[in-house]
């Protein structure tokens, strides 16, 4: 293998698994260290810059970081990254003075359709640069799906108000209760750029016999949640069936429990394991006495005299074809009818753009989705950008934020007369953490603690009040314990070939057997010759250039604890622990582009 080029920004970024997995690339270990130091406001601002909604995401994020967390490859559970984010939000001081000041307007006007996370991120990035941003939303208040679809017992209004308020306070114009019905009319208002962040607002229908006849007691999940959120609905029947296995289904069933549903069941077509809902959301539902029945396909709504009495299900089983693809086939068991008073249908969401006229220059694909460039988020109309669920279908908040940052960068470059497909490189800093012979400026003593549980409100009380937040968040002591579980993967092991005397001290001390000195070879061959097995080929090998004996140093990044013992036991300083910090490129970043730095 060729010697690893650690100067490439992505190399060390990949080692920070959580940050690499995060769509917005939030510097996770950095803010966790700040939490451990009690610097909650600093931790909050790092998050605010990167993911815009730390308090909201700290309660609701889909946490792609956690399955990626290295701790999960070393022991049972990853660090509770998401809930630590909430700690920063819960314990911070007043941070208003740290927010950007509303800037003098530069005369450029940007319209943002939809007041959800994608649009608000664009506004957050562009408003401080002087753009006149106008956000339109059909609802009276900002937040979009964060406000309408997430139950208050998971995300209180106060948190939404606070964090949307920070953005609107940057001089952003918010037009609530103003639905955009015509793209043509919007284009006619001569905005310099338009961003569409209108989400995936339509719940998918379940068109089976009885749907029309029993319509009064069959509700579409996201619409029903929005109605509950606005107080239009405050009760439901005693026996409720929720159809669907995603996070919306979990929100529906738990909401139903709080509105009078005594016997609430979630019934899914697939197996329990393949459900789309996050494992922790399933756990929370089960904890609230909601059984999840699987391998049952709804075939008819049963009704008597226009009144729903139950749902009939066909029993299925999973079969796998030669390609490993799963098919649900009838199991042969008799159909089962489960009685109920109400049904909530949460079988998916769809995009809907009835308000975009065909002659707006915006092309759609065969799935009726706008053609959007995945890097720049521009549509086929060079002035119109898409992001969030509106761009590529339903995902989650953190993806919407990531799209928003990229779209804002595109809009800023376009309106600055620069090519939008040329993206400036991120800014990377790397600095030694050495303080003394065996002292580092980070805590390298690895904690053996298991993941700490977030305290919950007593179930009896929680189920009585739909606005009582179930999760109480970590207290300072639990947060400190959980923060210590972080392995500081951003403090990188950096190897200097010229200093190495091949004494083997690092290979001997490494608790994870990550380091091997051996003859060089192709990657597949090298992976066979390491001190410990190398099961994750997606984790890079760090290879040095040739050492004095002709061998190379190979480090498998996979399960490195970043404990720094290699560097502590190195007599020549050939190993050093260096903190890597990557600042993603945002609108207004001044880092030179690759082409410029080459000139």
């Amino acid at each position: 293998m060729k010697p690893t080029d650690i100067a490439a920004p992505d190399y060390f970024h990949k080692v920070v698994d959580c940050q690499w997995a995060c769509p917005a690339h939030t510097p996770v270990p950095e803010y966790i260290r700040l939490i451990a130091q009690g610097r909650y406001s600093d931790a909050y601002m790092i998050n605010w810059k990167s993911n815009v909604f730390p308090g909201i995401l700290g309660r609701t994020c889909d946490r792609p970081c956690e399955p990626a967390c290295r701790r999960g490859r070393v022991e049972d559970n990853p660090v509770a990254i998401c809930r630590l984010k909430r700690v920063a939000a819960d314990f911070k001081d007043d941070i208003k003075q740290r927010l950007p000041k509303p800037a003098p307007k530069n005369g450029k006007r940007v319209a943002l359709v939809g007041g959800g996370p994608a649009s608000l991120t664009v506004a957050r990035d562009l408003a401080p640069l002087g753009y006149h941003c106008t956000v339109f939303d059909a609802d009276p208040e900002a937040g979009g799906m964060m406000r309408t679809q997430i139950p208050k017992f998971r995300l209180p209004n106060s948190v939404i108000d606070e964090e949307t308020g920070y953005i609107l306070g940057l001089g952003v114009d918010f037009k609530g209760g103003h639905r955009i019905d015509s793209m043509k009319a919007l284009l006619a208002e001569k905005y310099d750029a338009i961003f569409v962040g209108s989400g995936a607002p339509r719940g998918r229908e379940l068109d089976i016999p009885g749907r029309k006849e029993a319509a009064a007691n069959i509700h579409i999940g996201i619409e029903w949640l929005a109605n509950v959120s606005f107080g239009h609905i405050d009760k439901i029947g005693k026996r409720v069936i929720v159809l669907g296995g995603g996070n919306t289904a979990m929100d529906c069933c738990r909401t139903a429990r709080r509105l009078g549903g005594e016997s609430v069941k979630v019934i899914v077509r697939s197996g329990f394991e393949e459900m789309k809902a996050s494992p922790w959301e399933k756990e929370d539902a089960i904890h609230e006495d909601i059984p999840i029945l699987n391998y049952m396909v709804p075939v008819a709504f049963k009704h008597v005299a226009g009144k729903l009495i139950g749902v009939t299900f066909q029993k299925v089983k999973a079969e796998y074809d030669a390609n490993g693809r799963r098919n649900l086939v009838p199991s042969g068991e008799p159909d089962e009818t489960i009685t109920c008073d109400d049904v909530l249908v949460a079988v998916g969401q769809e995009n809907a753009f009835p308000w975009i006229e065909p002659d707006c220059g915006i092309e759609f694909d065969k799935w009726h989705m706008p053609k959007v460039d995945p890097k720049t988020f521009v549509s086929t109309n060079p002035k119109v950008f898409f992001g969030g669920d509106a761009a590529f279908g339903p995902k989650n908040i953190i993806w919407a934020v990531a799209h928003g940052h990229d779209a804002a960068l595109s809009i800023h470059r376009m309106l600055s007369g620069e090519a939008i497909d040329e993206r400036p490189l991120p800014e990377v800093q790397i600095s030694s953490q050495k303080m003394g012979i065996h002292e580092w400026s980070y805590d390298n003593d690895i904690s053996n603690d298991k993941r700490f549980k977030v305290p919950h409100r007593d179930k009896v009380i929680a189920l009585k009040d739909i606005r009582a937040e179930v999760e109480l968040g970590y207290d300072v002591k639990l947060a400190l314990g959980e923060a210590h579980r972080c392995l500081n993967c951003d403090v990188q092991t950096v190897f200097s070939t010229s200093l190495c005397i091949e004494c083997d001290a690092c290979a001997d001390i490494c608790p994870m057997d990550c380091i091997t000195f051996t003859g060089n070879g192709e990657e597949g061959d090298l992976r066979q010759r390491l001190k410990a097995p190398s099961p994750h080929s997606d984790q890079d090998l760090y290879v040095s250039s040739d050492l004095k004996t002709g061998r190379v140093m190979v480090k498998d990044e996979d399960v490195c604890l970043h404990c720094g013992l290699c560097a502590e036991r190195c007599p020549t300083g050939a190993w050093d622990m260096q903190k890597y910090f990557i600042e993603m490129t945002y609108a207004g970043s001044t880092c030179p582009t690759k082409s410029r730095s080459a000139a």
Partner: protein, 351 residues
Amino acid sequence: MTYIAKPKFHHPGLKKNALGYTHRDYEGKISTLCAGCGHDSITASIIEACYELSIEPHRVAKISGIGCSSKTPDYFLGNSHGFNSVHGRMPSVLTGANLANRDLIYLGVSGDGDSASIGFGQFAHSIRRGVNMTYIVENNGVYGLTKGQFSATADRGSKSKKGVTNTDNAIDLVAIALQLGATFVARSFSGDKSQLVPLIAAAIGHKGASFIDVISPCIAFNNHAGSTKSFDYVREHNDAVNRLDVLVGRDPIAVDYAPGTIQVVEQHDGNKIALRKIDADYDPHDRLGAQTFLARHAAKGQIVTGLLYVDPDAEDLHEHLNTVETPLNTLEADTLCPGSAVLDKINASLR
């Protein structure tokens, strides 16, 4: 030294030996020696050898004297018996322990000061008595704990860190061990684990006095130009006569090597050593040949490493003394003291 404990996490894919232990289970406390010390590599090699042999830690007694080297038993086999004795007195403590309980595996860990200076006599007598042990000298040629004065194994003409030339002749412990009748004699280098680990494993399996001299660079005081025990010098002058594989519980498979280059030695513990010859003329069963080979190469400034001599049919002290198979420390009082009738009989036989 490192202040934090070595994390208890280990690689999730670590292999386990026949006892279900990983090599991490054979570790001791974290080393307090200087960073990069060759002794730590020897520690790692002992851990690896014991892991590969699936040795039960409670069957090992590790005994040492005083010095950097003699601290190392604290860093391996944390669940074994240990005795950190007086300077240079490891051999007599080990001999006593071995006489009392012949069932344990004895690891004598010593250094060049402990064995070639203050304990030279003890070293000599334990070897000539054929105590069943693995005697490892971690040889760095200097007194590291007292800041790097030449030790008795420092080569004449080699230079100290301050540039002073050594005018005394060196003791070659390997040559002495051969002359005193050790039945397993080897030399290795802390920077070459692929050679050292099987040597230690083979020495543990040998019944009789096994002696391994391991050159172990002192990073703090003896790893400079002018030293003959530095990483660079040893790597440049290393003349390995053979390489070996210890084959645990299976027949040697020699298909990888050219025919005729493998020599299989049956060990007392049932394992086999497959010796791959590097020097075609070298015969590890010829004590006299080994002595001349060693002297000839030493004169050329070469450091001969490998398994230099082995007698597979060696006897140990217990056989010389004709002691009972049962360890003496487990004999009951009535066996140890059979009564006046038996004493009368013995006395009568001597009249």
